[in-house]
Each structure stands twice: as structure tokens, then as C-alpha cells.
């Protein structure tokens, strides 16, 4: 997972005042794979995602995208590179419909007016390409959608923009069993379409079900980045809570130093 990575972070540091949140973090995203980013509360998952998405600037470290070292100052830079974040709180406007939300901030125009027809067709096609069949009409207001449907719309938005890397922040946190299955299914399909997918989740079942590799953050450090096949549920929980599990994870001294 070095040469073929689309996104490569090396030695990322980030602190807020006196608080070190990320410490020498390395992270890779590979096209066509789902990498799960796990860790306990406060391990730095959200901060890492926000650094990738350009919401927080990184203090030091290298950010290599598609083989080029880049600097991401704001969410627009990240979006321009093809990095899309689907937030936990979804960031959809309830008073707008699905098409309007999917194209929000990047509307297609003819002259000075909105090109509704081409946007509506593109939105329909995207949902079709993801085999989304639970949405009745793309002109439905988002407020009329269920949690799973909203998540679907938010994810489809990322696909619509031909993103290469999609970061999903707790996409199944608020969903029921059937809807979770739907969303995980969609996550898998995203990777199958060749996107690099980062899945942040607290739910070990989701992670073990859908991820190809698993990155574990422990107190701001990358404790381990392992293949799905190399770990089981128990080891994963150990990695999250203690930073190490048997031979995997951080050396005992470094875990001791941080606590």
C-alpha cells in the first residue's frame, strides 16, 4: 500500500494550543479499497479527517495526493483534488430537494440561469449507477427522507462529483439494521467503482464486514494499519483500547509513554 496509494500522509502533526491531537501519523488510501479508521473517543479520528478535508491545516508532515505533494487550505481545495467528506450530521439542506442538495455549491448553469434538467438527469443517473432504488423521486425534499436515504444522498453526492477519495464519518451511527446494511452495501459498491473509501466507525461489526484494511488510532498515534484478514474482533478491541494486541500495534514503551 505504498506506490498505488492515491492519498499518502506521512508524519502528520496537529495540535490545538498545548494539546497534541495527532502525532506523527501516517495514513494511506488505496483506490478500490475500503480502509476503516477506528479508535476510541478522542483518539484523533475526526481531526485526521478534518485535516484531510482541509478544514484544519496540518502543522507539519507531508500530504501527497496522486503522487504530488499538495497543500490543502480549505474544503474547496480538497474538493478540487477529488476528496469528498460525508459528515456524520450529513450536511444536507432540509428545505431543498435531492437534486438541489447534490449540486449545492456547484450548480450547472446555462448563462446565468440554473440548468435544472441536466442536473436532474445527472442526479438520477448517479443514483441508478449506485443501484439506489429506495428513493421515489429526485425532486423530493430531503426533509421527507429517512436516515438511510439521507445517508445515501450524501454518499451519492460524492460519486456525482467523480471524487477519488470519499471519507465517511460514522455513516451508520443513527441507522437501523436494514438501513445499515443498505449503506454498507453502498460503501462496498463505491470501492468496487474504484474509489478510495475511508470509513470511520465505532461499530466493529460494520468495520469487519466491509473494510479491506483497518487503521487504528490510539491517543493521536497510528497504532496499526493492518489487513482485515489479519485481525479478529477481540484483537481489534484490544488495539483500540490499549494500542497493541500481541505482536500487532505499538511497542509497550510508547504506549506507556503516552498514558
Amino acid at each position: 500500500m505504498t506506490s498505488e496509494s492515491i492519498l499518502q500522509l506521512r508524519g502528520i502533526n496537529k495540535s490545538f494550543g498545548a494539546v497534541d491531537v495527532l502525532h506523527d501519523v501516517d495514513f494511506d488510501v488505496v483506490p478500490g479499497e475500503v480502509v476503516a479508521l477506528v479508535g476510541d473517543n478522542g483518539a484523533g479520528k475526526s481531526t485526521l479527517v478534518k485535516c484531510i478535508g482541509g478544514i484544519y491545516p496540518i502543522d507539519s508532515g507531508s500530504y501527497v495526493y496522486d503522487g504530488r505533494e499538495v497543500t490543502v487550505h480549505n474544503p474547496r481545495d480538497a474538493a478540487a483534488l477529488g476528496i469528498e467528506i460525508v459528515y456524520q450530521d450529513l450536511a444536507l439542506c432540509d428545505n431543498l430537494d435531492i437534486v438541489q442538495n447534490m449540486f449545492l455549491g456547484r450548480e450547472r448553469k446555462t448563462g446565468i440561469t440554473l440548468d435544472e434538467i441536466s442536473m436532474e438527469k445527472a442526479a438520477q443517473e448517479t443514483l441508478r449507477s449506485l443501484s439506489v432504488r429506495t428513493v421515489k423521486s429526485v425532486r423530493q425534499r430531503v426533509s421527507s427522507l429517512s436516515g438511510g436515504q439521507r445517508q445515501t444522498v450524501a454518499i451519492a453526492k460524492a460519486v456525482l462529483w467523480n471524487s477519488k477519495v470519499v471519507l465517511l464519518d460514522e455513516p451508520t451511527a443513527a441507522l437501523g439494521v436494514a438501513q445499515t446494511a443498505q449503506v454498507l452495501d453502498l460503501v462496498r459498491r463505491l470501492a468496487d467503482q474504484g474509489l478510495g473509501v475511508v470509513l470511520i466507525s465505532h461499530n466493529m461489526n460494520d468495520v469487519l464486514q466491509v473494510a479491506d484494511t483497518i487503521a487504528v488510532l490510539y491517543l493521536g498515534r497510528m497504532a496499526a494499519h493492518v489487513k482485515r484478514s489479519e485481525v479478529d474482533h477481540t484483537q481489534l478491541v484490544e488495539l483500540i483500547t490499549a494500542g497493541r494486541s500481541g505482536s500487532i500495534g505499538m511497542a509497550p514503551s510508547s504506549t506507556g509513554a503516552t498514558s
Binding site: 474544503p75 444536507l92 439542506c93 431543498l96 438541489q100 455549491g105 440554473l114 432504488r133 423521486s137 426533509s143
Partner: protein, 450 residues
């Protein structure tokens, strides 16, 4: 992983939904259309339905209770009297869409009107320069308000409350300083005075009606044809026909009535002039008031901006979920600033009309109830106080409702009690409208529609 990609258990359950999904976008029968509409209404998305039906009921009530309410002269009065609060309310719709408020819009209109009166009557500027001065004043006020709200981030309620007080002082200063009359500045310019009080030639009214109906029909029909060609669900042609027909009937009847001679002395009559009886010819007072043209133009432009341009889309987005809009890369600060500028621009037009109405300005220009009635008009029309929902048309309907109440009540109850009841009823109607807004939001929350 393959068992995941294949299917999930409840897929079977959603198959019928999928089948429905493939048919709905293509069909678009009248029944479907009607059913969707009813669903939306029941879900709490009533738009201007309550206000429109309220308007019809009120007109019918006052007409029956007091037949002179429906006289030709009063019809013209209604259109003129509603024009100032409609213009002001149209600007407020933009601000309300973001969930903000501008308490100073009324006195800002007053400042613009006083500026115009001072330069026109005091310094003898020609009318284009005087009106331009009013508009520039409005835009400057808007930029000031917008900067304080969007950049300094003071809540708009506080900013505009402060400006509401300050602008009353500015008004007082404007009417008492500079060249020309002090205290009460009367406007001599015929053009400015006829903006509110004047009428179009009869052919002008017909031309306006024809332009409105033809324009509406063209937009509706070409839009529908385009969607149909693209294979998207389109409004049924019958519904479009009914809408165009309805608009045509309303326009034709209104123009016809306003083009009738509404003068009280329209037939020739005999008067006593210096002890001699003289037959004087009948007077003529007919035509669609100019304010109707002004309102139509403002309505068309603001509706176009809000519904057909990316800017308008962003206004709704910021009003619906500012954080989502920010993450989508929309410059929320600039949008916030811009709505205050648009609002004050429209307030300056309202100020010009207010000054024109009285053919003069004084220190209380735009103070008192002017603003509150305009906010009430927008809310009664269906614009939400919570942001994200509203249309310029709401201002027109709401403004008409309030004017009909004020006008009808003063006809109905003569004497001092007239305005007492009028205030009470107006307040009651506003409460009713706000209740409809709040309840429909709650309803929307529970039914998943908004």
C-alpha cells in the same frame, strides 16, 4: 463481500417501491399531480394556500357587509394602498429566508424618501437624480446593516433595532436641515408624485396584462416541453392550462375594472358658479395605477433571482442549513450581506412610493407600524420566520390581505372605534398566520415533509 453486493434481505420488500419509482418520474398524470399536491398540503407545506383563501373570504365578507367596498374607486385604492407594504415585504422576504430580521427597513425607507424629497424639493434635482439618490442611500444602508450582521456578527435583531432608533434621528435631521422647507417637505415633482398617484393609459394596462399572461404562459409551456423532451416528469398540460387561464381571467378582469372611469363625478353635471348654474363635463379617472406595474416588475425580477439563479439557490441553502451551505463552499457571509442590501434596495423603492403617496415627507416617515405591517405581510403570505421558506409572491398576497383588512374595517366601522378594531383584527390575523407557520413546521417534522 460478494453476499453484500448481491442483496440485502429487505430488498424484496422495497421491490414494489422500486417499481413505483420507475413509473413516477415518467408519468405525471393529473391524478398523480393532484395526489402529490394533496400530500404536500397535508404534510404541512401549504405555501400561500391559507393566505389566498383568506384573501378571498375577506373580500367576500367586506363586499357583502359593505357594498361600497367593491366599488371601482375602492378597487384602485386597494392596489395603491397595498403597494408600499408589498414592496417593503418583498425585500423582507429575502432577509426572512435567512432566518434574519430587519426592524429598520421601515425607517430606512423613510430615510430614502426624505433624502429624495430634500434633493428634489430643496435642491431642485431632476427626478432621475432624486430617485437615484434614494436608491443609493438604500444600498448604502443595506451594506452597513449587512456588514454589521455578517462580518461583525451582531445578531440582526440588535443591529436593526439600533438602526431603527438611529434612522428616526436621521429622518428628523433630514427634514429640518438643508435648503427648502423645514419640518414637512412637500414634493413638487410631478413624476415622483404620480408614481403612486398616477395611472397608466388604458392601453398601457391592457399591454401589461397581455405581457404578464404571455410571459407566464411562455415560461410554463417551454419549461414543460423541455422537461418532457428530456424524459423527466413534467407538470400535466391541463394543470398548466388551468393556471394560465386563471391568471388570464384575473388579469383581464382587473385591468377591465381599473380601466373603467371610477371618478365620482363622471357624468356631466350642473354646478353653481358665482350664482350661475353651469354644466361642467364629467371628470375622468381611469387606468391601472403605475404602482401595479412597479410591483409586477419587482415580483418578476425577485422571483427570477430566487428560483432560477445559483444565487437564489444559495439563499435558500443558507436559510435551510447554514453549516451545510458553508461546507458546500457557499460564501455564507457574502450571501448574508447581500440579502440585507437587496432588502434595503427594495426599502428605498418603498420609501419613494411612500413619499409619492403623501406628496411630502416628514420626520415620522416610515416609522410606526410601517415595518411591522410589512413583516406581517410576508408572514401572512406564507414566508417562514424560521428561514428557508418563502417567496416574493407571499409578500404580494400578504400585503393584499392586510390592506383589505385595513380598508374594509375602516369602511365597516365608522367613528373612532374603526382603528381600534382594525388593530385588533390585524394582530389576530398575524398571530393566525404565525401559528399556521409554526404548526405546519411541526407537522412537517412528524410527517417528514417540509
Amino acid at each position: 463481500m460478494s453476499e453484500l453486493t448481491k442483496s440485502v434481505p429487505e430488498e424484496q420488500g422495497s421491490d414494489d417501491m422500486a417499481a413505483a419509482a420507475s413509473t413516477i418520474p415518467m408519468a405525471g398524470g393529473i391524478q398523480d399531480h393532484f395526489r402529490t399536491y394533496m400530500q404536500r398540503v397535508r404534510g404541512g407545506d401549504m405555501g400561500s394556500l391559507p393566505a389566498t383563501s383568506g384573501l378571498i373570504v375577506l373580500v367576500a365578507f367586506f363586499w357583502i357587509a359593505h357594498p361600497s367596498f367593491g366599488s371601482l374607486g375602492n378597487l384602485a385604492n386597494l392596489t395603491q394602498q397595498s403597494s408600499t407594504s408589498i414592496t417593503l415585504a418583498m425585500g423582507l422576504v429575502f432577509v426572512l429566508l435567512l432566518g434574519e430580521i430587519d426592524l429598520a427597513a421601515g425607517v430606512a425607507a423613510g430615510v430614502c424618501g426624505c433624502t429624495m424629497a430634500r434633493v428634489s424639493a430643496g435642491y431642485n434635482w431632476p427626478w432621475p437624480a432624486a430617485i437615484l439618490a434614494a436608491v443609493v442611500t438604500g444600498v448604502v444602508i443595506g451594506v452597513l446593516t449587512g456588514l454589521l450582521c455578517a462580518k461583525v456578527r451582531i445578531p440582526s435583531f440588535v443591529v436593526t433595532l439600533a438602526l431603527f432608533l438611529a434612522f428616526q434621528g436621521v429622518n428628523l435631521w433630514l427634514v429640518n436641515n438643508g435648503a427648502g422647507q423645514k419640518g414637512n417637505v412637500s414634493i413638487q415633482d410631478n413624476f415622483i408624485n404620480s408614481l403612486y398617484n398616477g395611472e397608466m393609459a388604458t392601453w398601457g394596462g391592457w399591454l401589461l396584462a397581455a405581457a404578464v399572461v404571455a410571459g407566464y404562459a411562455a415560461v410554463k409551456i417551454t419549461g414543460q416541453a423541455k422537461r418532457r423532451r428530456a424524459g423527466l416528469s413534467a407538470e400535466p398540460i391541463v394543470i398548466i392550462g388551468v393556471k394560465i387561464g386563471l391568471l388570464a381571467v384575473i388579469s383581464i378582469v382587473a385591468v377591465y375594472l381599473l380601466n373603467e372611469n371610477r371618478s365620482i363625478n363622471k357624468t356631466s353635471h350642473v354646478v353653481n358658479q358665482g350664482g350661475k348654474l353651469v354644466r361642467v363635463p364629467g371628470e375622468s379617472l381611469q387606468g391601472v395605477p403605475w404602482v401595479v406595474l412597479i410591483i409586477v416588475v419587482l415580483l418578476v425580477i425577485s422571483t427570477f433571482v430566487l428560483t432560477r439563479t445559483p444565487y437564489g439557490r444559495h439563499v435558500y441553502a443558507v436559510g435551510g442549513n447554514a453549516e451545510a451551505a458553508r461546507r458546500a463552499g457557499i460564501p455564507t457571509d457574502r450571501i448574508r450581506l447581500s440579502v440585507f442590501v437587496i432588502n434595503s434596495f427594495l426599502a428605498s423603492i418603498a420609501g419613494v412610493l411612500l413619499a409619492s403617496q403623501h406628496r411630502s415627507v416628514d420626520a415620522s416617515q416610515g416609522a410606526g407600524l410601517t415595518l411591522l405591517l410589512a413583516v406581517a405581510a410576508a408572514v401572512i403570505g406564507g414566508t417562514s420566520l424560521f428561514g428557508g421558506k418563502g417567496r416574493p409572491m407571499d409578500a404580494v398576497i400578504g400585503g393584499l390581505v392586510l390592506t383589505v383588512i385595513a380598508n374594509g374595517m375602516s369602511d365597516l366601522i365608522s367613528g373612532n372605534n374603526g382603528s381600534a378594531y382594525q388593530y385588533i383584527v390585524t394582530g389576530g390575523v398575524l398571530l393566525l398566520a404565525a401559528a399556521v407557520d409554526a404548526l405546519s413546521r411541526r407537522r412537517a417534522g412528524s410527517s417528514g415533509l417540509a
